[in-house]
């Protein structure tokens, strides 16, 4: 009887315990994979792409690692997804969220093995995560009122974030830089206004924050290399041959002289356009599209600095920085807002020439120039800096901060343990398991640093028995210490997002009791 043929060929179905086992195993494998990158002494991973060139990336950013993996296990994909979302939403904690979700599932597996129904576990986890969040809320520090204190908080958060990355050697330097950059944004979370330029050469220490704006372009030949009190017109217009846009138009001539005439008219048109642009009274013209030799020459004649082919982001942020509007028509010079800056000059970084706009009006945007030994280093540095910038910009909006170094986990674990003791019924097992999963994070951090994790965590737990304790693990010195004194801070928003998404993801995986895999779509050539 054809009962077993409900599905198409190649489709498979896994049920009950087997399905659950498959998702547990997949999720744990993923969390074990990134586990070793957690914490300040976490290790990096080399990722080699299978594409052409076998490009190599060295990173310890959880989201980057997971993004590049080809995974077949459905549950593992859920974890990859939460890590990606964490990256988009808060920028940091991408590894922690996966590790926590993995630990939650590991604990859940033990509970399922001892015959506790997954729904009961979910109910327990939910209560625990609510309780943990409240515990954090009770202990947050908010220095919104005190600008100076807040700045120092931000600086500490940046250092905490950076210390787990390649930039840890110069973390003070980079933290300063990141905080300065974020403060310039004045509360907006638009990180595009912070431009990161990577130039190989020099050392990481030579990286710097530039108050102005740096455009990675060359100045046209024969044009001034230095302009003071520049008036800038930012444009997005065709400066090659200005095509007739009316549909169906084409040129049909019957003699050479006419060709010449029309060419002349075309040139005239371009000349007109350039004239109009010059009539704005500018001395710098930045265009998104190409500028051909002919108009370039005209600009050079008028003593105007013309920069071509600035990419779209470049144009947008230049508009932001200088306060000019992006123009495409030039008929009304009086109403177009021009951008201003004190000085435009060509500068050299390494052996590349760049154009530097300084003394800008708006000051919202800025550039960070990263220097480093190789492309890999620079890429990783950019990712790290990006993480730090994300966290900082989120913290500016949500000013609550926490201590770091496993302190929040211990605080949560303690409260959750209390809850477990008060709760009657099978749920309390799940709540207890939740607290064990939380403690796994400081344990992993200590393990990764090659410390005696059992000893340290036990010590930490004892310390946390006293109310209002600030103890955490200081990985650098390898001991338990007061986190407030050592200045290890983390943003509340990051911790909250880690907690909530990890619980949500593990709940989602736990609820599954059947996996149905459709037949993979066949490629044509294999048929």
């Amino acid at each position: 009887m054809p009962i077993d043929k409900i599905f198409k060929d190649d489709a498979s179905e896994e049920k009950g315990e087997r399905a659950r086992m498959a998702s547990f195993v997949g999720a744990m494998a993923i969390s074990d994979l990134v586990k070793s990158t957690l914490g300040p002494k976490g290790m990096d991973k080399i990722l080699q792409s299978t594409g052409r060139g076998h490009a190599v990336t060295v990173t310890n950013d959880g989201a980057t690692i997971l993004k590049s993996l080809h995974i077949d296990n459905p549950a593992a994909k859920v974890l990859v997804d939460i890590s990606k979302v964490q990256d988009d939403e808060v920028g940091d904690g991408t590894t922690s969220v996966v590790v926590l979700a993995g630990e939650l599932l590991r604990e859940a597996e033990k509970l399922v093995a001892s015959k506790i129904h997954p729904m009961t576990i979910i109910a327990g986890y939910r209560m625990a995560s609510e309780c943990a969040r409240n515990a954090l809320l009770k202990r947050v520090i908010d220095n919104k009122e005190n600008a100076e204190k807040f700045r120092s908080d931000l600086l500490k958060i940046a250092m905490t974030t950076l210390c787990s990355k390649i930039l840890s050697q110069d973390k003070e330097h980079f933290a300063e830089m990141a905080v300065d950059a974020v403060f310039r944004l004045k509360g907006s979370t638009n990180l595009e206004a912070i431009q990161i330029i990577k130039k190989p050469g020099g050392s990481l220490k030579d990286s710097f924050l530039d108050e102005g704006f740096i455009l990675d372009k060359k100045i046209g030949i024969g044009q001034p290399k230095r302009i003071e009190n520049a008036k800038i017109l930012v444009a997005n217009t065709a400066m090659d041959t200005d095509k007739v846009k009316i549909y169906g138009a084409r040129v049909r001539v019957d003699s050479m002289t006419k060709v010449a005439e029309i060419e002349g008219a075309e040139k005239e048109k371009m000349k007109d356009k350039v004239k109009k642009i010059i009539a704005h009274g500018i001395n710098c013209f930045v265009n998104r599209q190409l500028i051909y030799n002919f108009p370039e020459e005209l600009f050079a004649d008028a003593g105007i600095l013309a920069i071509e082919h600035a990419d779209f982001e470049g144009i947008e942020s230049l508009g932001l920085v200088t306060g000019g509007e992006i123009a495409s028509t030039f008929d009304n010079p009086e109403s177009v807002k021009l951008g201003h800056c004190k000085l435009i000059e060509e500068i050299m970084i390494g052996e590349d020439k760049l154009i530097h706009f300084s003394g800008c009006e708006m000051g919202q945007a800025c550039s960070i120039v990263l220097r480093g030994a190789s492309h890999h280093v620079l890429d990783e540095a950019e990712r790290s800096l990006h993480d730090a910038l994300c966290v900082l910009s989120q913290t500016v909006n949500d000013t609550r901060v926490l201590l770091g170094g496993g302190w929040p986990e211990m605080v949560m674990a303690k409260e959750v343990d209390e809850l477990a003791r008060k709760t009657a019924g099978k749920k309390s097992h799940a709540i207890e398991a939740f607290s064990r999963a939380l403690v796994a994070i400081p344990t992993t951090i200590a393990d990764n640093a090659g410390l005696d994790s059992a000893e340290l965590v036990a010590q930490l737990r004892a310390e946390h028995h006293n109310d209002g304790c600030n103890a955490g693990i200081d990985v650098i010195s390898g001991s338990v210490g007061d986190m407030e004194e050592r200045g290890i801070y983390e943003a509340f928003k990051v911790k909250q997002a880690v907690l909530l998404s990890a619980t949500e993801a593990s709940e989602m995986i736990l609820r599954v009791d059947e996996i149905i895999t459709c037949a993979p779509r066949r490629r044509e050539d294999r048929m």
């Binding site: 979302v85 638009n190 002349g264 008219a265 508009g319 509007e325 059947e514």
Partner: protein, 535 residues
């Protein structure tokens, strides 16, 4: 097998290419079909009820769906068996018609099939079983009508509606914040409902999702949300009291459909053409400005020049807005969709109180809110959540809740959930069975037994002793003659569904029974399956 002989003993070929076909006939065909139907129902059985589990489905491209919505599971399952496909259709039609109870209907059909198999073994003819089922379903539906209760609500008192939606949501992963989601669903439905005609056009409710944030941030927006931003980065991000021109023509020079060529052969012509072009752009923008528009929403793209002119004239614009969104905007703002610039008039502009752009997270995700519209009949439910699968599942759950609220506005009758209605029906059908003389009596009894399987599955999924719980509830219903006792899935401590506030809509339940019966009848009537044997 399919051979016949004529009077000379030569065989006829009735079925072409016989050896390539497999054929099942008679009782074997019925048995095979029933087995397939049961197999599908068995997959869904564990998803029923508030403690039901989810299924993880991996699509052909490796994409993952996690859901416990019956219709979605079956749709994504990619089944090959014909009978299994019928079950998929069944759940889909429940989804189209009612929107909720898609799992229940399949479980019900599965139980009916299981009972039918037993009757077949007794030697009862399939048609007699089908007829018996038909009679029984009539009895059940009538009984539902009897035990149904009208319940009153109005715009100011929508608490009963919220309670019903909560019943629907409690079986989904979102049950953590079912209260707020149920409120959102009810408010959304009430906002677009036409209470005079008792009709709700669900097209007016848009459900948008964005990954990030938490489920609690889900909100109801009295207006429209579009996943677009202003065409020029320096256009204003916040417009108050907007007059919106809704255009379906691009800000580009005209492209006549007829084939034509514009030949340029002299310098003068070149010059005039150039002027014309500039003038054209200018006119377009001027036209919008003249009628008093403060925001342009366009279905097509803009030329760079037009874009700058718009920016220059201080006329913010949004480009590449999809057709559906455009229609919604037109409905919400009371504007008209204008296909040509010449036809723009001040009356055709839509009006909105506030149009603002909002950015999310660390990446440059921006969305445009159009709020306080002239005609508040279009609303948007904006879902936030930890990951993509969560959002998708929430969307489906919200859809179910919206459907339930709509059904209640159409028809105010409710029955009690938690299996209470099924148990009551089962009792009624069982009692009615004795009145029917003939073989159908057995089929009707079988139907009553099949009805018990839904509360049984509920109890099983909630970790209760299924037989013990069911018999206890059943005797309680008979003893007190109150049809409100159901399975206590959430361990609240009472069986009275009135106290637990677990309702379902009457039409939903009726539809479930009718649809399930219909499909089972159809399956029972099949006595020959011919298929290509290559598969």
């Amino acid at each position: 097998m399919a051979l016949a002989f004529d009077e000379f003993g030569r065989p006829f070929i009735i079925l072409r290419e016989q050896d390539q076909k497999t054929r099942l006939r008679g009782i074997d065909a019925q048995k095979a079909n029933i087995a397939a139907g049961k197999a599908v129902a068995r997959i869904l059985r564990s998803s029923l009820g508030p403690k039901g589990m989810d299924k993880m489905l991996q699509g052909p491209d490796g994409d993952i769906t996690i859901t416990n919505d019956g219709a979605t599971i079956l749709e994504q399952m990619d089944v090959d068996n014909q009978i299994a496909k019928l079950m998929v259709e069944l759940s889909r039609s429940q989804d189209y018609e009612i929107g909720d109870g898609t799992t229940g209907v399949v479980v019900m059909a599965g139980a009916l099939l299981e009972q039918a198999e037993r009757q077949l073994d007794r030697g009862i003819h399939p048609i007699r079983i089908a007829e018996g089922y038909e009679m029984a379903s009539r009895v059940a539906v009538e009984h539902l009508e009897r035990i149904a209760q009208k319940f009153e609500f109005d715009i100011n008192n929508f608490e009963p509606l919220v309670q019903t939606c909560m019943t629907t949501l409690s079986s989904k992963i979102v049950n953590r914040c079912k209260r707020s989601l149920a409120e959102i669903a009810v408010k959304a439905v009430l906002a677009v409902a036409d209470l005079e005609r008792r009709d709700v056009n669900l097209d007016l409710i848009k459900v948008e999702g964005k990954v990030g944030g938490k489920l609690e941030d889900t909100e109801l927006i009295y207006g429209i949300l579009i996943d677009k931003d202003m065409s020029h980065p320096q256009m204003p991000k916040h417009i108050e009291d907007a007059h919106i021109a809704i255009l379906t023509c691009p800000f580009e020079p005209p492209k006549p459909k007829t084939k034509h060529k514009v030949d340029i052969d002299t310098v003068e012509k070149f010059e005039t053409l150039r002027k014309q072009e500039q003038q054209y752009f200018d006119e377009m923008v001027q036209k919008c400005k003249d009628v008093g528009a403060t925001l342009v929403i366009c279905q097509w793209g803009f030329d760079d020049e037009a874009n700058h002119l718009l920016m220059h004239r201080n006329l913010p614009a949004v480009r590449w807005v999809g057709g559906v969104e455009l229609e919604l905007i037109a409905i919400a703002t009371g504007g008209r969709i204008v296909p040509r610039f010449q036809e723009l008039t001040p009356e055709k502009l839509g009006k909105a109180g506030v149009v603002r752009e909002k950015s999310f997270g660390t990446t440059k995700e921006r969305m445009l809110y159009i709020e306080h519209c002239a005609n508040s009949k279009a609303v948007t439910v904006f879902i936030r959540g930890g990951n993509k699968m969560m959002i998708e599942e929430t969307k489906r759950s919200i859809h179910d809740a919206l459907c339930v609220a709509r059904n209640l506005i159409r028809n105010k009758s409710i029955v009690y959930g938690g299996g209470a209605a099924e148990i009551a029906c089962s009792l009624a059908v069982d009692a009615a069975a004795d009145k029917y003389p003939g073989v159908e009596q057995y089929a009707i009894r079988a139907f009553a037994e099949a009805l018990d399987s839904v509360p049984m599955a509920l109890a099983e999924n909630s970790g209760l002793q299924p037989i013990e719980t069911l018999s206890a509830v059943k005797s309680q219903q008979i003893k007190e003659n109150i049809p409100f006792y159901g399975i206590d899935c959430n361990d609240v401590g009472t069986n009275d569904m009135r106290e637990q506030n677990v309702f379902e809509t009457l039409i939903g339940k009726q539809q479930q029974i009718l649809l399930a019966t219909q499909v089972v009848k159809m399956i029972l009537k099949i006595d020959d399956v011919i298929s290509n044997s290559e598969y």
